[in-house]
Symmetry: C2
Subunit: 594 residues, 2 copies
């Protein structure tokens, strides 16, 4: 022991005097080493592969060829399933079809069908770009998007083919392929698959070996997803291979898509695949070797049937979809735990509580088309569970922190006194309202062919969300409103999101949408559009009294007007369309949907 001690003291003497200059100069980094044209330390070296989400499909098909990849009730009402081996084969066949015809910019106008999945993987595998379009847009906007995006080929579901009349007139030479979503693939899409398979056969049957499952450049664009364009024309958001890959890995981790043992995710396609590339779940579910439960449209009775009988484990949906799902007569507490990735607009604490009671466990995420959808998560924390239930669910309804594969999000000052281009954080006090900005791998590259909008998107060096939020002392952000939806009443900011969250705790109210109406005295005041629960009624006077009594509704927040409607206007992802509410408030009821 004495010997060890004396050794230690001798060694301790080697500690340098902190004030002295170090004597040792670190060596320069290694000389460049080149082997067979590969340069060490660059992306040409052997320790690099490009982060490409397409690769997850041939990988899944190799590891677990017989696993059920796709479950779908086709347009002709037949049940079809595809194994991973079949899924990979179909995508490969379609990729060879695209290669044969040299199509590179692949438009898609389809609901959530197997063909959409095949085309997503096939387009990238054939060195092309995926351009999915929202079939609920006006034909004029659809036409605009396919032209603006330079689509050189369009895959359209038979149901939506008539929407292309406008486009065909403008672009008569761009080929259009119709998928009739028939279980036996007897139509034009099936013929295209057969043609692709034959083309591969003629060229040595290379299958996925002859396709691009790893992009040459992971930073290159692999998809264009268009914003809904409520103000001005839709903009084409540029996605990259690396962005989709890191977003998909983030979604796998954050929503727990991989189980231990032999259990596999059963993912129900409630969110449109055209919206932000289905939040990158075409790739995430495939990487996890889960089953894609395709879905042509939202029918709550059928969703409950699948939840119950197929033991769905995951789905993504906006708060409004979850509200209607929970209120559906078929709702029942499930025996399995379902992870529900809730995003697209701010949820209420009330909703999370209702969902949890049905064994639907919210994974609360937030993002935008420009962030591949989810980029933050309202993490569940042990400390929250020591709070009263209401407060706990309130914490879970915060938008939270950047994903594991993202940089942290920030909330920055807005307004006239902010110097152009400088991003200054708001106080982390849960009070000061600023704009949410993002940075890093799960941010989009910009807008296609729109330099001005791209410059504006990244003004000051961060991706501007257009959402207003507070930053809590624990670093979690909480969205107050879209910048254009906030109501300014007598100098006070009223968060329509917070007001809606308070109002839906009323026992007779199902949903609430708030917008501003002009007020001579206060500038603006809120108007509430309400939907009522089945078999309930409500009177104006009682409702206003109830609002005045509600602890979270200050006097200046009490709605000036309120109106009961049959249905609230919503986007394809389930966001309440505030611009339509504003029109309604003006008396204009002929607003088209999206």
């Amino acid at each position: 022991m004495a010997s060890a001690k004396s050794r230690l003291s001798k060694l301790a003497a080697h500690l340098v005097d902190p004030s002295s200059t170090p004597t040792h100069v670190p060596p320069a980094s290694n000389d460049p080493l080149v082997i067979d044209g590969h340069t060490r330390g660059t992306s040409s070296w052997f320790n690099y592969h490009s982060q490409t989400p397409t690769f997850f499909l041939p990988r899944a098909a190799t590891i677990e060829p017989d696993a059920v990849a796709i479950y779908h009730k086709s347009a002709d009402d037949k049940l079809l399933t595809k194994s991973y081996s079949q899924f990979a084969q179909k995508a490969s066949d379609f990729a060879y079809y695209l290669k044969k015809h040299r199509y590179r910019r692949i438009g898609i106008l389809c609901p959530n069908t197997p063909a959409f999945l095949y085309a997503t993987f096939a387009a990238n595998a054939a060195d092309g770009v995926v351009i999915p379009v929202n079939y609920r847009l006006k034909p004029d906007d659809i036409s605009y998007i396919f032209q603006h995006s330079d689509a050189d080929f369009i895959l359209v579901d038979a149901e939506f083919a008539p929407l292309l009349d406008n486009y065909r007139a403008a672009k008569p030479h761009v080929p259009i392929l119709i998928d009739d979503d028939a279980a036996d693939e007897s139509g034009a899409f099936g013929s295209a698959l057969a043609e692709g398979a034959a083309y591969d056969l003629q060229h040595g049957s290379q299958g996925w070996e002859g396709l691009t499952s790893l992009a040459d450049d992971e930073l290159a664009v692999n998809a264009l997803t268009y914003t809904s364009g409520t103000t001005g024309r839709p903009k084409g958001v540029e996605y990259t291979h690396r962005g989709c890959y890191m977003s998909a890995l983030g979604n796998i981790i954050e929503s727990g898509l991989v189980f231990p043992g032999i259990k596999r995710a059963k993912y129900l396609w409630t969110v449109p695949m055209f919206h932000a590339m289905g939040w990158t779940f075409p790739w995430a579910v495939t990487a996890a070797r889960g089953t894609h439960y395709c879905l042509r449209k939202i029918v709550y009775a059928y969703i409950w049937k699948l939840l119950r009988e197929e033991e769905i484990t995951h789905f993504c949906a906006a708060p409004t979809v979850n509200t209607l799902l929970c209120a559906d007569p078929n709702a029942q507490t499930l025996k399995q735990e379902v992870r529900v990735i809730v995003g697209a607009s701010p949820p209420t604490a009330h909703l999370f509580q209702s969902m949890t009671q049905l064994n639907l466990h919210p994974v609360h995420v937030y993002g935008s088309t420009e962030t591949y959808a989810p980029i933050t998560r309202g993490y569940d924390m042990p400390a929250y569970h020591e709070l009263p239930a209401k407060e706990m669910y309130g914490r879970l309804a915060r938008q939270g922190h950047g994903f594991i594969t993202s940089l942290p999000v920030r909330v920055v000052r807005t307004g006239d006194d902010v110097v152009e281009g400088a991003l200054v954080d708001v106080e982390k006090d849960g009070k000061e309202i600023g704009e949410v900005v993002f940075l890093g791998n799960i941010c989009a590259r910009g807008y296609y062919k729109d330099e001005t909008a791209t410059r504006k998107l990244f003004a000051g060096g961060g991706l501007h969300s257009g959402d207003l939020a507070v930053w809590h002392p624990d670093g979690a952000i909480q969205i107050m409103d879209r910048a254009k939806d906030i109501i300014i009443s007598g100098g006070e900011n009223i968060s329509s999101v917070a007001l809606e969250a308070a109002i839906v705790t009323h026992p007779d109210i199902l949903e609430c949408g708030i917008c501003a109406v002009p007020d001579e005295q206060w500038g603006e005041r809120p108007k509430a559009f309400l939907t009522i629960k089945l078999g309930r009624t409500i009177t104006y006077g009682d409702f206003i009294e109830w609002c005045k009594e509600h602890p979270a509704i200050s006097r200046f927040m009490v709605p000036k007007e309120c109106e009961v409607v049959k249905e609230l206007p919503k986007t394809s992802t389930g966001k309440i369309r505030k611009n339509v509410l504003r029109e309604w408030a003006k008396g204009n009821r002929n607003q088209e949907s999206e």
Copy 2:
């Protein structure tokens, strides 16, 4: 309906004739766009952040500052815990200490202590490289490594400080800091932390904001881990930020480190942190905001206590460690499911069966120091569970497929008839034996200052493992042996791994290590070194008879000699040291450990 039909047929006419040339030429990609010096489509753009695992620590401390990050029984036998906020603070303090002294190449000679974790994050945060060294090496090798790696600073645990005598003589000017691993941080290491904190304070208290949590270049080297060098001098394996990041994300997904809800991983540090950077779990566990249960040494009774009382959820360990753990008198079936990441040498089906009975569920991985440790996983498949138990566990004991964040692994032909530099796959028949090669993001960059060895490592364009394997029809690989351990007897290949796996099913045998001994008639034949279960005995004759009867042991595989020993010689990670067994077989029993 008729109208829709006619519209469809009109649209169908737009399908191009497959034989015609497409009329549409895809547009060139976007013109370059530069904003404030950032160029779109490059890594300087806003949609890019460098994949740096160091970032996971400040992220964890922001999101969940009070979560328990570290649990440790210190060298002075006191229990200490650190929150994520404290962990991040200590690492920051140490980083500022390193920055103050401009140390850039940080040697570490420590067991699995909190100081090791702090130093790992601190070194990278201070723009330095981590150089952890195996304290079980000969002092001469330790000295060689610290010199070869150009370490300009060494952190040493007091217990191992005497091992540096040799090095001090050669490099008297390189400072050495001793960590006495005292709970109250009263020693030199604690003073260094205080000094770093003071330095930060003097320079504006920037904390992590002033450190490098995101590397400038994700492809740059962040760590050097040395091979054990059983043949020749140890080689310094170059790790990169991106490699560690993708390996850590892979480990999170593959071993299920993230739970839904508020449950957090409790990770027990059974694998040495110096070995392949602790298989990148310092980063993976931190990213998952789990608790690091540090461990100065392997004491099975204490491990069982932690498993039982602390409800550990994960640990990594070689098969031999698991064998001894299962055989320990304290073994008992745990109430929680534990995921045990089993790697470092091929496990037996028998072991997996024993582990599962104790609620220790194997996550079977395979890799090498050159692949950040785990790079393949023997995936559990539904189809396996339809097989008899023995066969099912046999399937799970295969090394399987490349990780979710890796490229697929290959098995390529070896031998004299193989053209230098060309990698040709073996048949996927489960019979032809070849060498395992790796490629992609979780491969190391090469060997530090050793161009010849780097060229050899990547000969033909793949990272050579030196392991021999067969490739099964389902794409799973199965290791037969290290190239130098395979036994060639009368022209037949005998896999020592397969023979060991068969022998340990004997009811009285605990462990088995096989090596070749010379044989006049057959060239080589196997010799078995055995350890026996507590209270059991075995005779040579009975053992040989048992081998002859065993269905998996062909006549030519039956050991020529067998010897019962008290303990098998093992590496720090628990691999059986075949080179020592070969010496023992020659009668040389004075082999030092590693």
